[in-house]
């Protein structure tokens, strides 16, 4: 159904969620790896507004922003639905996706980046947000139900690997199996799925990437002072 390209970065959780969606639908695509420190003309042309990955290019038409891309994929290739049929359930999936990205993911990034007292505050805030996720997954195998993964699982998909690496490099603990047993179990189940596993970057590469990011960021900040 037309030519599909993904402009992405293998370490980016936003890009991996797009690849998962395409693989779940059995859509063939060409993957173009971006060097984020030296962005290509193609990326700047296809996402002039944000200049970020991922960008999905379908029949030469670009779509940017990972959640927008997920919905585009779901509406274009209709088999193996990512979002539920029922409008209220769809609304719930969209609500929790927005919450997870804004409060949990951004919260985890803050807890990762910050130092000292600010770090403690960020950790506390992120933990509060994770409590809501724990409630959502309680009693279910996947966020999308008991049988198959769907939109919301893909959106949360950064938790098993990326969060784990951020915790290690950033020196903080968020995904505590005692505090969040259901979330922890979901993470184990999710990461065992072959097509999920296949798209994950190697853990040591991700550790290097986050270490590099921390040092780069701190040296840029120091240079500014």
């Amino acid at each position: 159904m037309g030519e599909v390209k993904v402009i992405g970065s293998s370490k980016s959780l936003f890009c991996t969620r797009v690849e998962w969606a395409l693989k779940l639908k059995g859509v063939e695509y060409e993957y173009l790896e971006e060097d984020l420190l030296n962005k290509s003309t193609l990326l700047l042309q296809h996402n002039p507004v944000h200049k970020k990955v991922p960008v999905l290019v379908h029949n030469n038409k670009p779509v940017a922003e990972s959640l927008v891309i997920l919905e585009y994929i779901d509406e274009t290739w209709k088999h193996n639905s990512l979002l539920p049929e029922d409008p209220h359930e769809r609304a719930m999936a969209r609500f929790w996706a927005k919450f997870a990205d804004e409060k949990c993911l951004m919260g985890a990034f803050m807890a990762f980046w910050k130092e000292g007292e600010e770090k403690e505050k960020a950790i506390e805030s992120a933990l509060e947000s994770f409590t809501f996720l724990e409630k959502q997954i309680q009693g279910k195998k996947f966020f999308s139900g008991d049988d198959n993964i769907g939109y919301l699982d893909l959106v949360m998909g950064w938790i098993p690997l990326w969060l784990n690496v951020m915790e290690e490099v950033g020196g903080m603990k968020l995904d505590d199996p005692q505090k969040f047993p259901s979330l922890h179990e979901w993470a184990q189940n999710f990461n065992e799925i072959p097509l999920i596993k296949d798209c994950l970057p190697p853990r040591d590469e991700l550790v290097n990437y986050f270490n590099f990011a921390v040092n780069y960021n701190r040296s840029t900040a120091a240079a500014k002072q």
């Binding site: 940017a64 919905e71 969209r94 809501f132």
Partner: protein
């Protein structure tokens, strides 16, 4: 039939997020009960219905409760099919979602910040806002509305710009919407505000000025850090 169930909207008269939901309901001719919330003294009903964010709007349809205005808009569009707001084509739908997110993040929050800050901070936020407005100006492409000949999802999502933004400019003494710089947007604002449904559903301007003057003063006098 699901559509015949009672519809309730918890809102606040000056909120652009609430108003966009009302525009959608009115355009579709959906009857609803409006409940005005005092957002400075939140009711137990609000806190019970939106425990996650504790914000308006909260949309209630029968037993179903939905928060987050963009999520509500899509729910309304999927539940009441008359006067469709979202385009049919998946790529156009993706563009509507992309741009509504962009305007919310880059124009709404930046212009609010500009209104509430002073000196250099104000100037900086205003400049960022203008840069963002340039991008959305380009999206009109000679159309009467973002949705084409008639009002659509994106018009409703960014509709606050036609009324709230000029008020914020006045309160905050900043200039964003220059008609010479943004002729397409200026024309769109006029068309939007003249639409019979929109015209009848705007909060009173003089009350808005007083309200936002007060809010802006509270923000700028808050201790930093």
């Amino acid at each position: 039939m699901a559509n015949a169930e009672h519809v309730k909207l918890l809102g606040f008269w000056a909120s652009p997020f609430v108003r966009r939901v009302e525009w959608a309901l009115k355009l579709k001719g959906v009857d609803y009960e409006y409940i005005e919330e005092d957002i400075f003294n939140k009711s137990s009903q609000l806190l019970e219905l939106n425990p996650v964010h504790k914000l308006v709007p909260v949309f209630v349809h029968g037993e179903r409760v939905i928060a987050e205005s963009f999520v509500v808009l899509e729910y309304i569009d999927e539940t009441w099919k008359q006067c469709p707001l979202m385009p049919q084509d998946p790529h156009e739908r993706a563009m509507a979602r992309f741009w509504s997110k962009f305007v919310e993040e880059k124009i709404l929050f930046a212009s609010w910040k500009s209104m509430c800050s002073l000196g250099e901070e104000k100037e900086k936020a205003a400049k960022l806002t203008v840069d963002a407005v340039e991008k959305i100006e380009g999206e009109l492409k000679g159309k009467r509305f973002f949705g084409g000949e008639s009002i659509g999802y994106l018009d409703i999502a960014v509709g606050w710009m036609s009324y709230w933004l000029p008020i914020w400019e006045e309160v905050g003494s900043m200039k964003i919407l220059d008609p010479l710089q943004f002729p397409a947007l200026t024309s769109w604002m006029r068309n939007f505000l003249e639409h019979p449904v929109i015209k009848e559903n705007l909060p009173p301007r003089d009350k808005m000025i007083i309200y936002f003057q007060k809010r802006s003063q509270e923000f700028s006098s808050r201790p930093r850090g």
